[in-house]
């Protein structure tokens, strides 16, 4: 066996002198949302470079909002143009898919990011330092916390306005992630949105030690997992000889029939496929925070600045599940019977693990982190349905969940004491007495998390469980509702704490936010209730978006 000779001919063919270089065909209009966001990010960097410091905040904020809104409009335009359904196809030489799920998720990510920008830009919560309003981010992240350099920076009124372009870069990566149609794009998109997030995590104004620790953990584990992902990609490439989704799917479906027998050692080798698939899945499961790859979630959620946590929890999950869906539905449907049992297991331990460990949490952000893990489990149940309904239910769930999450973390930013945000649960005692409205809003979010009817959480949960049940995963549904019951316990515990306990004398106060955060929270509440009461329109939307292009 000596394949080398055959390869050589290929080499030589490729090395022949081309007549002309064929320019890649790029449908710029169809990938415009991504381009807009990246363009704005670059402009943002330029703003940092050239605009005077005092104008940067306004400019960056405006730029981000406009860019995200424009990108969202572009998504709407594409969807209206039929790209979500009939005209769905692959753009940019097959690197990116423009289809229903992609557009739906991109739209969701953009809206979530837009709301997140509001919370990023909030400058009224922390007491003003030296007469200047400050946001949640360090004045100068590179400076040692509490050191002279930092004090000087604070005094000078520095602000890390870079967060906006960083955020935009992350958003850009997230937009590509669920649309990526080959494994290379997938990997690059993953890194494009992960690296900015690592940085954002480290930028907290208060409790910087924790913030940096979160960044370090996130970074190391993220890089570690992306290495696994990459290795998985390598193996899949070895299996199929290509990294495009369609190509791999074809090989998986047809087996190694028309493959050169000389390549039998690698190509079509099931071991490569299975190991590669498993490692690639692991990379994505890490991003969605599924057990046992969830360990980063609580620590990072806790340490990161709360607006970042909210953004991360909402948008990353949407993007990562989008990518997971595409990987499983487009690349690996032929080996459904291989990955389904494993994913069953992952879904079950994720649901139960998240719910159970959350019971004893004492920090609100950690609690929400574990809650997000449990929710990842619920969404996985929908993913496992492997039906069109499964896709649309997951899309709907993601949309519903992301707004609840964002809103919940936005409320967390409001509850403050002398040391910044009071995330210790015990400090939340009696919040309902002091600020009934804020507590009530938070209770709405918690109830939505718990999946109480008339909230979006219930509609979402119903949708995914319904899809799972229809695909025959009845027992998964039963375990799902049981873990919902366990999960309900800790959501309710928080409500008890807020409403049925006497406020402590030295308890935290609720800061009065600017219209930015107020808007963010209000959007969260409205979406939660509308999706709970009249979800049909959005279900239709998700239903129409329920087909992947191949």
């Amino acid at each position: 066996m000596n394949p080398v000779t055959d390869v050589h001919t290929l080499w030589t063919t490729a090395a022949e002198v081309p007549g002309r270089i064929p320019a890649p065909h790029i449908e710029y209009a169809q990938i415009s949302p991504t381009l807009i966001v990246f363009g704005a990010a670059i402009v943002g960097v330029l703003i940092e470079a050239f605009l005077p410091r005092r104008n940067r905040y306004t400019a960056q904020l405006l730029l981000s909002v406009v860019a995200l809104a424009a990108a969202f409009a572009a998504v709407i335009g594409l969807a209206a143009g039929g790209f979500a359904t009939t005209k769905a196809h692959l753009a940019a030489m097959g690197a990116l898919a423009v289809d229903g799920p992609a557009l739906f998720l991109q739209g969701t990510i953009l809206l979530v990011s837009l709301v997140a920008v509001f919370t990023f830009a909030e400058r009224r919560l922390d007491p003003a330092a030296h007469g200047k309003r400050v946001d949640s981010f360090a004045a100068q992240a590179a400076a040692v916390p509490g050191g002279a350099a930092e004090q000087a920076a604070v005094k000078a009124g520095f602000a890390t306005t870079e967060v906006f372009p960083i955020l935009l870069f992350a958003v850009g990566g997230m937009l590509i992630f669920p649309a990526a149609n080959d494994l290379l794009t997938l990997f690059v998109a993953l890194e494009v949105f992960s690296l900015p997030l690592y940085i954002l995590c480290a930028l907290a104004r208060r409790k910087r030690l924790l913030s940096q620790e979160a960044a370090l953990k996130y970074f190391l584990l993220g890089a570690f997992s992306s290495a696994f992902l990459l290795f998985g990609i390598a193996l899949l490439y070895g299996y199929a000889g290509t990294v495009t989704y369609a190509g791999i799917a074809e090989v998986v479906a047809d087996g190694a029939k028309q493959i050169d027998p000389a390549l039998a050692g690698t190509m079509g080798n099931d071991a490569l496929l299975l190991i590669g698939g498993a490692l690639a899945l692991m990379g994505l499961l890490f991003k969605v925070g599924a057990v046992p790859f969830h360990m980063w979630t609580p620590d990072v959620y806790q340490g990161a600045p709360t607006p970042v946590t909210g953004f991360m929890a909402a948008a990353t999950k949407v993007a990562a599940f989008g990518a997971l869906l595409r990987l499983l539905y487009v690349v690996l449907p032929g080996m459904r019977w291989d990955w389904r049992p494993v994913m069953w297991g992952v879904a079950i331990v994720t649901m139960l693990g998240g719910a159970i460990v959350a019971i004893t949490q004492s920090d609100i952000k950690r609690l929400l982190a574990y809650s997000s893990i449990a929710h990842a489990g619920f969404i996985l149940a929908g993913v496992l349905a492997t039906t069109r309904d499964g896709i649309s239910s997951v899309l709907f769930y993601l949309a519903a969940y992301s707004f609840v999450t964002l809103g919940a973390f936005a409320v967390v930013t409001l509850v403050r004491d002398a040391g910044g945000e009071a995330t210790q649960l015990s400090k939340w005692a009696g919040l309902g007495r002091r600020s009934p409205l804020v507590a009530a809003v938070f209770a709405v979010f918690l109830l939505a998390f718990a999946g109480i009817p008339l909230t979006s959480g219930f509609a979402g949960k119903f949708a995914v469980f319904k899809a799972a049940a229809q695909s025959g995963a009845g027992w998964l549904v039963v375990i799902g509702v049981l873990s919902s019951a366990i999960a309900a316990f800790f959501y309710i515990r928080v409500i008890v704490l807020m409403f049925f306990h006497e406020p402590k004398a030295d308890g935290p106060t609720v800061a009065v936010p600017s219209p930015l955060t107020t808007t963010a929270i209000a959007i969260g509440v409205v979406v939660t209730l509308v999706l709970g009461l009249a979800p049909q329109y959005f279900l239709d939307l998700a239903g129409q978006a329920g087909t992947f292009v191949r």
Binding site: P3, V7, L195, L209, F219, L220, G238, G265, Q302
Partner: protein, 99 residues
Amino acid sequence: MNPVHYLYLAALLFTIGAAGVLIRRNAIVVFMCIELMLNACNLAFVTFSRLHGNLDGQIIAFFTMVVAAAEVVVGLAIIVTIFRTRHTASVDDASLMKL
């Protein structure tokens, strides 16, 4: 030489990298181990590229290098700020948040 041996080497390197991540305390070393894992992937890509007789794998290897470089930028920045704050680069010291 049988190209499959390159794959074994890649797997070995990957494992060494992973083991390094688990074993070493210094953040920089841990990070380098991750880079080692990425490079192991590169080796695998290139090998498969050879085996399949197409260029995809090799191109991916370039992408990987770029990504790794970007990772270095971000990673080092984070590690350095932490070092400046804590005067240690041990990952085990960064364990304030737990349970």
